[in-house]
């Protein structure tokens, strides 16, 4: 969500402003079919002739409400897209056979974190850079360390 402008103030690019997601985020839901639909929401205003592809969620969404609307070409393209998705997911499934478990990665993560000096931690690996405390020096280069409470 982003609360940028009131609708009366926005310029005519507002029709491109964020729309909430129309697709389910769960990985078990179907991928959206990309269709042209005149019933889509704010991106098509009265008199607007530009057709924006709008994702439709749900299996029955394909041309369901407008049987003649989506042409064969677009339908074929949508099927091609889905076939591509199938291949991508299949490849990922095959890849999983060779992947290690998450514990291997977690071990690597701890090593990575603990190898880097970090100015914002109360306990950290060294070396400490002299510049880390510049935010508390009154005047440039002064050695006075003030507590900014």
């Amino acid at each position: 969500m982003m609360d940028m402008v009131s609708s009366s103030e926005a310029n005519n690019n507002e029709q491109n402003a964020r729309n909430p997601t129309t697709t389910s985020s769960s990985s078990s839901s179907p991928l959206p079919a990309v269709v042209v639909s005149s019933s889509s929401s704010s991106s098509l205003r009265g008199g607007e002739t530009r057709h924006e592809p709008r994702p439709l969620s749900g299996i029955g969404g394909v041309g369901g409400t407008h049987p003649g609307f989506m042409g064969k070409h677009r339908m074929t393209a949508a099927i091609g897209y889905l076939d591509q998705q199938i291949q991508i997911i299949q490849d990922e499934l095959d890849q999983l056979d060779t992947l290690g478990q998450s514990s291997v990665v977690c071990k690597e993560l701890i090593t990575s974190i603990e190898s880097v000096p970090d100015a914002l931690l109360p306990e950290t690996k060294g070396p400490v850079e002299t510049g880390w405390d510049r935010w508390f020096q009154g005047g440039h280069g002064s050695r006075n360390r003030k507590k900014w409470i």
């Binding site: 969500m1 982003m2 389910s24 079919a33 999983l96 998450s102 993560l109 701890i110 306990e123």
Partner: protein, 377 residues
């Protein structure tokens, strides 16, 4: 083939995708024998412990007349550029709190800004669908305004986020409400690559943020209203390297982990997550109830330089400091003395990791640093 037959094929393909996706989810779950918090506890790690005056607000940068939407540090020294609802970019010296530039934008509806690697230019974008570049060394025009030195046009929707490719001032990556990301050559003003788009294997809704891998600048990650994050290789624009599922709402923020092998996300579902780019594993979910059963969206995230801390800004004004290893909140900057009076919309760490800058809807930016006693191991 008739339309009816095509519809049948489409339905069958959709169902296959759904089934395969389920299979993938189950198979991945089997490989998640532990999350980061569980593993770290088993290795005897304890949460980071902050004293009450350890992390303090040591500067408040005042000057904007509207909500701050975005900020970015220079890769060197102490300068920050910020973008605000007031239609201006301000360049600050964070150490001295001085403003070095106040740039009035041709389009006031700005959403994002970025500092170039050399610190000589800044970029911004917003509802005008254009990314504008300003050279900070240019002479100002008659009205005292810095002229636009380049306009990167091509997106068909708002520019939500932009970042320069590290080590060079000549290329930048954008994310857009038109569901694509773009790689731009600033010298020519042309878009070199479009990531995603119609019928490409890209995002299926507005893209809200990008983050370039600091260790390998050919890789970047994007977050979208389609609830996924995607990893891209700039050499392969036609399809994402990997898509990361898990979030249940818009992914508002993405940020690469310092070691370049992982990245974090922040979402409308109120969680932050850590993903591994090589295996695709979701390593950790960072979620804590905020009280009153509310689950405020995460607006922005940043990692400390080692990655041990994850800073997350929420829409209710909280700014949780997560211990990334133990999966616990160790501090809330939103409740500290001298904190912001509104939502924290953007966060960023200085190049040396010694300071965090937060930008807020209260129109201020604040600098936070560690002022306590530091124990060196």
């Amino acid at each position: 083939m008739s339309v009816a037959e095509l519809k049948e094929r489409h339905l069958a393909a959709t169902q296959t995708v759904s089934a395969l996706r389920d299979q993938l989810k189950q198979k991945r779950l089997l490989l998640l024998d532990t999350d980061v918090a569980g593993y770290s506890r088993s290795q005897g790690r304890t949460p980071v412990s902050f004293g009450p005056t350890d992390l303090v607000c040591c500067r408040t940068l005042q000057g904007h007349n509207g909500k701050v939407y975005s900020l970015d540090w220079t890769p060197e020294k102490n300068r920050i550029v910020s973008a605000s609802q007031d239609g201006r970019l301000i360049v600050w010296n964070a150490l001295t709190s001085q403003k070095t530039h106040a740039i009035k934008l041709p389009c006031a509806w700005v959403m994002t800004c970025a500092f170039s690697p050399t610190g000589q230019s800044v970029a911004c974008g917003g509802l005008d669908s254009v990314c504008s570049i300003f050279n900070l060394n240019s002479p100002t025009d008659r009205d005292g305004n810095l002229p636009v030195s380049k306009m990167l046009s091509g997106h068909k929707g708002y520019v939500s986020s932009c970042q320069y490719v590290p080590d060079e001032d000549a290329h930048l990556i954008t994310s857009s409400g038109d569901q694509t990301c773009g790689l731009w050559d600033i010298t020519t003003g042309l878009r070199t690559s479009v990531f995603g788009g119609e019928f490409q294997s890209g995002h299926t809704a507005d893209v809200l943020s990008v983050s370039i891998n600091g260790s390998n600048s050919r890789m970047f990650v994007s977050g979208s209203c389609d609830s996924t994050a995607r990893l891209w290789d700039t050499r392969v624009a036609s399809r994402a390297v990997r898509t990361f599922h898990g979030h249940e709402g818009d992914v508002n923020a993405v940020k690469f982990f310092p070691d370049g092998n992982r990245f974090g996300t922040g979402s409308d579902d109120g969680t932050c997550r850590l993903f591994d780019i090589r295996t695709g594993h979701q390593l950790q979910v960072y979620y804590q109830q905020h009280g009153d059963n509310e689950v405020p969206p995460v607006t922005s995230i940043a990692f400390s330089i080692s990655g041990r801390l994850l800073f997350a800004g929420y829409s209710n004004g909280d700014c949780y400091v997560w211990d990334t290893l133990l999966g616990q909140v160790v501090l809330n900057l939103g409740t500290l003395q001298n904190s912001h009076e509104g939502r924290i919309s953007c966060l960023g760490l200085s190049a040396d990791g010694s300071a965090l800058c937060t930008g807020s809807w209260d129109s201020n930016l604040k600098i936070w640093a560690f002022g306590g006693h530091r124990k060196v191991i």
